[in-house]
């Protein structure tokens, strides 16, 4: 099913009633509204999933008492956080202090808007999509640095500095892995990347180098989102709450939500680049199976794959202890970057020699 038919229909409908400029304005607002709603919805699902999955790994049951099977738990948290007092701090940089959480959220919403949920169901899609995605996701670190700097708190400061060092380093590995897949796909346009996976996902097409890139991407993506075992910027046992120590109420809520959504985004990108996005499973030769797979809508494929990757990340998160800052950097610069570079070379050779499926 192609969602562009629906969007075109809406567009045509609006155009019959409104002038050109108003249509663009209305559509922008409509899209923004949809994006924000989807963003919030996924955040709530993510938080609930995290709590339940974490509980399952820890032989607990997780939220149970608020709503059936604890389903309403996150809504309760949201209501509470909305009316929680927002504290402002003396001798802090007030503008930056209030701005920081919005920057973090903005960065993650912007990245979110690049995600292809189904054919035609993508807000931003242009020829350098992957490049834009990386650029948008990397200015989130700015928000974290600002939060740490403006809070007038030494723990926040250390947390922010750690986060700066870590996120900027791992940006490199994420970039290399994406580049590897761009080499395989031959395009930077996200929709085109997905289209070219209709006859086989990249992880199968690119076999060994793609698998290596996938693993490196998962590790680096985890580090990008500041989650265990790379949660040093907010290392609970070391820096109390890291860069958001001073934030309360919804300001803290923004950091909290952005953290979860970044995980969603990282997973969604992983499923787009490696696991075929909304492309159904395609096995050459088995036409009957392929036909059945083709009946499942693309959005189900996309979300299914994304949540599978999220679950993988959660599995990792709830298993390992945290690394130390120097080890984090050693892992990146001595292992991931060299391996990533060699892998990129390998992929290029494979593509040039035609050793892909």
């Amino acid at each position: 099913m192609d969602f562009s038919t629906i969007t075109t229909a809406i567009d045509n409908l609006l155009r019959t009633y409104m002038p050109e400029q108003a249509v663009i304005l209305a559509e922008c607002l409509l899209i923004a509204l949809c994006l924000v709603l989807a963003y919030v919805l996924f955040a709530i699902v993510m938080i609930f999933m995290e709590r339940k999955v974490c509980a399952a790994f820890q032989c607990r049951v997780g939220p149970m008492r608020v709503g059936y099977w604890g389903l309403l738990q996150v809504f309760a948290d949201v209501f509470k956080m909305l009316i929680k007092e927002i504290i402002s701090i003396k001798r802090s940089d007030h503008i930056l202090y209030s701005l920081a959480p919005y920057i973090v959220v903005m960065s993650s919403v912007l990245t979110f808007s690049c995600l292809p949920f189904a054919r035609g169901l993508q807000a931003l899609d242009f020829n350098i999509g992957v490049f834009f995605l990386m650029a948008a996701s990397s200015f989130g670190v700015l928000g974290i640095l600002l939060a740490g700097w403006s809070s007038n708190n030494k723990f926040s400061m250390i947390g922010a500095m750690r986060s700066g060092g870590q996120m900027i380093s791992y940006e490199l590995s994420v970039g290399l892995c994406m580049l590897t897949m761009v080499v395989l796909g031959g395009t930077m346009q996200i929709s085109a990347i997905v289209e070219s996976q209709l006859d086989g996902w990249f992880i199968f097409k690119g076999h060994i180098p793609a698998c290596i890139a996938f693993v490196i991407y998962l590790i680096a993506g985890n580090a990008e989102t500041n989650r265990a075992p790379f949660d040093l910027p907010e290392a609970e046992s070391e820096l109390t709450a890291g860069y958001h120590t001073e934030y309360s109420g919804m300001h803290f809520g923004f950091f909290y939500v952005a953290e979860f959504m970044n995980v969603f985004i990282v997973s969604a990108i992983a499923s787009t680049l490696f696991l075929g996005g909304w492309a159904p499973l395609y096995i050459p030769g088995l036409n009957a199976v392929n036909a059945v797979m083709g009946y499942i809508p693309g959005i189900v494929w996309m979300l299914g794959k994304t949540f599978f990757v999220i679950w993988l990340l959660m599995w990792i998160r709830w298993t390992f202890p945290r690394l130390r800052i120097d080890q984090v950097l050693v892992l990146e610069w001595q292992y991931l970057v060299p391996i990533g570079l060699v892998n990129l070379l390998l992929m290029t050779i494979c593509v040039v020699m035609g050793w892909t499926f």
């Binding site: 974490c54 790994f57 820890q58 032989c59 607990r60 030494k154 723990f155 250390i158 750690r162 265990a228 075992p229 949660d231 040093l232 290392a235 609970e236 046992s237 070391e238 820096l239 109390t240 709830w318 298993t319 390992f320 202890p321 945290r322 690394l323 130390r324 800052i325 120097d326 080890q327």
Partner: protein
């Protein structure tokens, strides 16, 4: 226990001679207020190889500004012990580099463990203002031709241009309410200043006004993870003084309980170490297994954490029917689960990297700091009280005193796992052979100890726990002193933290495994 009194002038020469003669472990340094006879200090020394013990004491009649020579250059641990004595008794140790209070606030009036201390609220009310920052280290010397202490040197500890942060007192990784002040250079620790006393409850002073049975409740709350062992030590000390022999059945139950408590404590230590390193799942697994021990405790003693089980002359209640089976089942279960824990956390490459070579304490340093328990044994010092001075049934059962050699954080974690296995081994030897008989001896309703000084020590979960009682023949003790297991561990942090990173502070703190209420008392 016989004490040799030495003259104030000879303290340093006598002690130095003993130190050179092999008495390298300063077990305790006890401040005393003998009223008319003056203030003083009792030293309990031990030879770390032959386990020979010596008791020495020194006193001064000066009360206004009493001064005694320091021994902190001979035994490193004396530095904190002497600060403690200064805090409680106001004895200035001449030559000590840093005579600040250790437990109480800087602006505290008076010295609480002196017999003439006035505890009225008017003098020391509950202050809700922050403690005035005290950065000045003072060193004292004897004034010429006088007996008084006078300031010789002042030095600022932290300087204005340093990046100083506080860790604690309310901080998730300090395992309670310890406070570190750190001077940092980036992530690296340059200077460390440890503040104790946030949970100083004045137990030793309280003890002086209680009867002997009433003392028992306090030991449980010192190191609540060695509740049984602590209470065992106190009961042993009182029983020794009374000349009371407890029944074999009670001995068996006590020994089994001590070992179960050790498993409980080590499990908690392992899980908390995992939590501090960010492995929350391992923490939960450890706690899941620990609940089984608590169930076993609760069934017999009625308490999970604080059991109130040992009493003077035996134990509070007999074991219940079928309890042995539960204990045996648990032993099998635990050996299985500890393997899972090892797979998940201990053998993980991340844990290894975080811990290996971090916080190294050598054998000599461990002895000098008096860091007993798993910390000492991880450094290769055979310091197990159960082997050194066997008590209860430890002389009869077969178990190995596990030793490691590196003395780093990783060895300290491995020590815990080995000790859990040894504890299971001990329990399995005893559990089937609990002899029939009385579980407690009848005691008089009012217990009075004969005049004298008594001491007993046990191997607690994190080191040697000692009890010292001076009795003047009343139903209340004249002075009770508990040897904290954690204070030496804290003291050794001064040494091992320098040059580490903040994250290492957490690792070291977790693996040293101190319990703050035990340090602060």
């Amino acid at each position: 226990m016989d004490i040799t009194f030495i003259d104030k002038k000879d303290v340093r020469t006598t002690l130095r001679k003993m130190r050179e003669g092999g008495m390298d472990f300063l077990r305790e340094l006890i401040g005393m207020d003998w009223g008319e006879e003056g203030l003083g200090v009792i030293y309990i020394l031990e030879n770390s190889c032959t386990h020979e013990v010596a008791h020495l004491a020194v006193r001064t009649t000066e009360r206004q500004r009493p001064a005694l020579p320091t021994v902190c250059d001979m035994w490193k641990i004396a530095e904190l012990y002497e600060r403690e004595v200064y805090d409680f008794y106001g004895i200035h140790f001449t030559g000590h580099p840093d005579m600040r209070r250790l437990f109480l606030r800087n602006d505290w009036e008076g010295f609480p463990l002196r017999k003439d201390y006035d505890a009225s609220e008017a003098i020391n009310p509950i202050r809700l203002t922050s403690e005035p920052p005290e950065d000045l280290q003072r060193s004292y010397e004897i004034e010429e031709d006088k007996e008084f202490a006078a300031i010789a040197k002042r030095e600022n500890f932290m300087h204005f241009d340093e990046y100083v942060i506080n860790i604690g007192p309310q901080h998730p990784a300090t395992h309670g309410v310890l406070r570190f002040r750190l001077a940092l250079a980036g992530e690296e620790i340059r200077k460390i200043d440890i503040h104790c006393g946030y949970i100083h409850r004045g137990i030793e002073k309280l003890c002086e006004s209680k009867t002997y049975p009433q003392l028992l409740a306090f030991t449980d709350r010192l190191d609540y993870l060695s509740a049984h062992q602590n209470r065992h030590a106190l009961c042993m000390c009182i029983e020794k003084a009374m000349g009371l022999e407890i029944t074999p059945r009670a001995q068996y139950i006590r020994t089994i309980m001590d070992e179960l408590q050790r498993i409980d404590s080590h499990l908690l230590m392992l899980s908390c170490a995992a939590m501090d390193l960010g492995a929350l799942t391992a923490f939960i697994y450890g706690f899941r297994d620990r609940e089984k021990v608590l169930d076993i405790f609760e069934e017999v003693t009625g308490g999970r954490l604080i059991q109130n089980y040992n009493i003077i002359g035996g134990v509070q209640a007999d074991i219940t029917a079928g309890w042995e089976v539960k204990v045996k089942d648990y032993c099998t279960y635990q050996l299985d689960k500890i393997k899972e824990f090892e797979d998940l956390f201990v053998k993980s490459i991340i844990t290894k990297n975080r811990m290996t070579g971090v916080g190294v304490l050598t054998r000599e340093e461990a002895i000098s700091y008096g860091a007993t328990g798993c910390t000492g044994r991880a450094a290769g010092w055979a310091c197990d009280v159960r082997k050194r001075h066997p008590y209860a049934l430890y002389g009869e059962v077969d178990f190995k005193e596990v030793l490691h050699t590196h003395g780093d954080s990783y060895d300290r974690v491995l020590m815990r796992i080995d000790e859990i296995k040894q504890a299971v081994h001990i329990i399995r030897q005893l559990i089937d052979n609990i002899p029939a008989g009385e579980y407690k001896q009848k005691t008089k309703p009012i217990i009075k100890l004969p005049e004298g000084r008594f001491s007993a020590s046990v191997e607690g979960s994190r080191g040697e726990f000692g009890v010292f009682i001076e009795s003047h023949g009343d139903k209340n003790p004249y002075r009770v002193k508990f040897r904290p297991m954690g204070l030496p561990l804290i003291a050794s942090m001064h040494k091992i933290l320098k040059g580490c990173k903040i994250a290492d502070l957490i690792t070291i703190g977790a693996t040293l495994d101190y319990v703050i209420p035990d340090i602060d008392r």
